[in-house]
Symmetry: C2
Subunit: 306 residues, 2 copies
DNA sequence: CTCATCTTTCAGTATTTCTGATAGTAGCTA
DNA sequence: TAGCTACTATCAGAAATACTGAAAGATGAG
């Protein structure tokens, strides 16, 4: 226990500062008083600095010791942080958690669980990516992301696991000033044939693979549709009267309230199409502690608000 | 070199991270390769964490090691700071430097030298107090301050040492609209007898001891004078036309330029009274490194601007 | 004044780490 | 592919270091 300040010497120094005596410090550290006495004496000799005034029965910290104390405390705090982080890593905490979120779900509550996560694992580095459904799932399999917050529950091909963390309703919307609304009786339902001639704006991935999206809420399609890769784009197009689109209710609710959009009363879909919001991960890649905790937090939040 | 992270282990860990190999780290630390190998192996066993991938010829840091690196670097930086601070203290750096400044000298350049001081001794705690002349010198002898930046060079009674760090000119000023100015010929000098009936505002300490201020620029006094303990108060009183006062030129120059005050052309004092600006300290209390450095910086600044 | 408790010193012990040799291995070069 | 170089891992012995425990001196409280 020789030399200038190192972590052991700092521990001894602070134990003496805390307890106010060498003997008490020895008890606290599980040593014998003479060890503490010698350690401090060596330290003082090395530093050529008097740390404690021995004129009294108990050593009194000198002004210099008091000046060094804050920095010493900072040091042990940093050291403990390092060891805590190492422990977390050894217990399976990933060094980085990448979460990819479908754009339609930006508005859901995923920030608060992240806050809790950040408090529990301060050393965890988090990255949030926004990408459309299919890109998100591709990222998951590439290893570019560990978790995806998406809409459509993946096919049960066994490559992914998922956890339900919310519900969302898809509603068909159209601009208030759209011509279609004028041929609609005030309370009547909208039939297939009425809707088919109207242009539909469809949200899909950049990759063309999911054009043949079988079934699901997209089973009712118009003859002519335009494709966009981002719901925000779809919203803008619908707002400008270019056509109608299936969009999440929470996403368009402000515009419905603001009288800019109208919900289309499609027959058999009067209450919209209910979808699951899921956290998805790859079964091939074991999840780290952080990801598991995040899933648990999201699930718990969902349970409480349901 | 056992146990979880301590300062020695952090040093070894970072040496390996820096050099990229156990052998090179050993060379850097002046050890033998096997010592490094064993130390890292022990650390990994303790942490239950693989820090380096040994599949290749040279150890490759794992993601966990890379995640721990920043915190480890922070730690050694903190440790070095602690040791640097201890070294400075052992070399005589005071833990706290209290500087008392006469209010008239607030406007002089004492901040820049303090900036340099803060850069050189980051751990030095500085306190700046504003107090009138006599209070400042009393603080010096009480030990409440180490340095005083004051006007009047102290009496040569041997209790204080001083260093000249500037010059200042006292000028007699009065409000532009004061009646005295109307009975003054445009270019004429002002005699004693003309000035005596006019009320003088005198700056002095709260303590009444220095009423009998012999000689000096205050030798010319009016019959009636009011006392204030702060030049700012004096300035306000003079500005409102209550009387005239001796005040430092740099202190009142803005008001002279702004046509609010007029410099009184007193006979024999046409250029005002020149005073020294001194840094004063007690001879009974040896100065610390910081105070010495500050004095040197102030003196150098004075030399350059003279 | 006395006693309990604190600090310091010192010699011996015990633990720890370092050393140096050896073996095994990876990667480069011809 | 063979050979060479430089690296890591292992191990027993050596050296250094810190710890222990007893004894002595000193302080402050009652």
């Amino acid at each position: 226990m020789n030399g200038v300040f190192n972590s052991e010497m700092v521990a001894v120094f602070l134990a003496v500062m805390d307890t106010g005596s060498f003997s008490a410090a020895a008890r606290q550290l599980g040593r014998v008083p003479s060890a503490i006495s010698m350690a401090i004496a060596n330290l003082e000799a090395e530093l050529a600095l008097e740390l404690f005034d021995r004129s009294g029965r108990e050593p009194k910290p000198t002004a210099q010791a008091l000046a060094l104390e804050p920095q010493a405390r900072l040091l042990v705090a940093q050291l403990q942080q390092l060891n805590t982080q190492a422990l977390e890593l050894s217990q399976g905490l990933e060094t980085r958690l990448t979460l990819v979120i479908a754009p339609e779900l930006q508005s859901t509550q995923w920030v608060r669980p992240l806050q809790v996560l950040a408090r529990e694992y301060p050393s965890l580095e988090v990255q949030v990516i926004t990408a459309p459904q299919t890109d998100a799932l591709r990222l998951l399999h590439d290893g570019g992301a560990q978790l995806a917050l998406v809409f459509q529950r993946p096919a049960a091909d066994g490559r992914e696991s998922f956890q339900e963390v919310g519900r969302e309703t898809l509603v068909a919307v159209i601009a208030r000033q759209h011509l279609l609304l004028q041929e609609l009786s005030s309370q009547g339902q909208l039939s297939d044939t009425q809707l088919r001639p109207v242009r539909q704006v469809m949200v899909g991935s950049r990759s063309q693979n999911d054009v043949n999206n079988p079934g699901g809420p997209f089973c009712i399609t118009s003859e002519h549709y335009w494709r966009v890769d981002h719901p925000e784009s779809a919203l803008q197009m619908v707002l400008s009267g270019l056509g109608w689109a299936w969009l999440p209710r929470t996403f368009v609710q402000p515009y419905i309230n603001g009288q800019m959009l109208v919900e289309l009363p499609i027959a058999n879909f009067t209450n919209g199409e209910e979808l699951w919001v899921d956290l998805v991960w790859s079964r091939e890649r074991p999840l780290g502690l952080g990801a598991q905790k995040f899933i648990a937090l999201m699930a718990e939040q969902y349970r409480q608000t349901r």
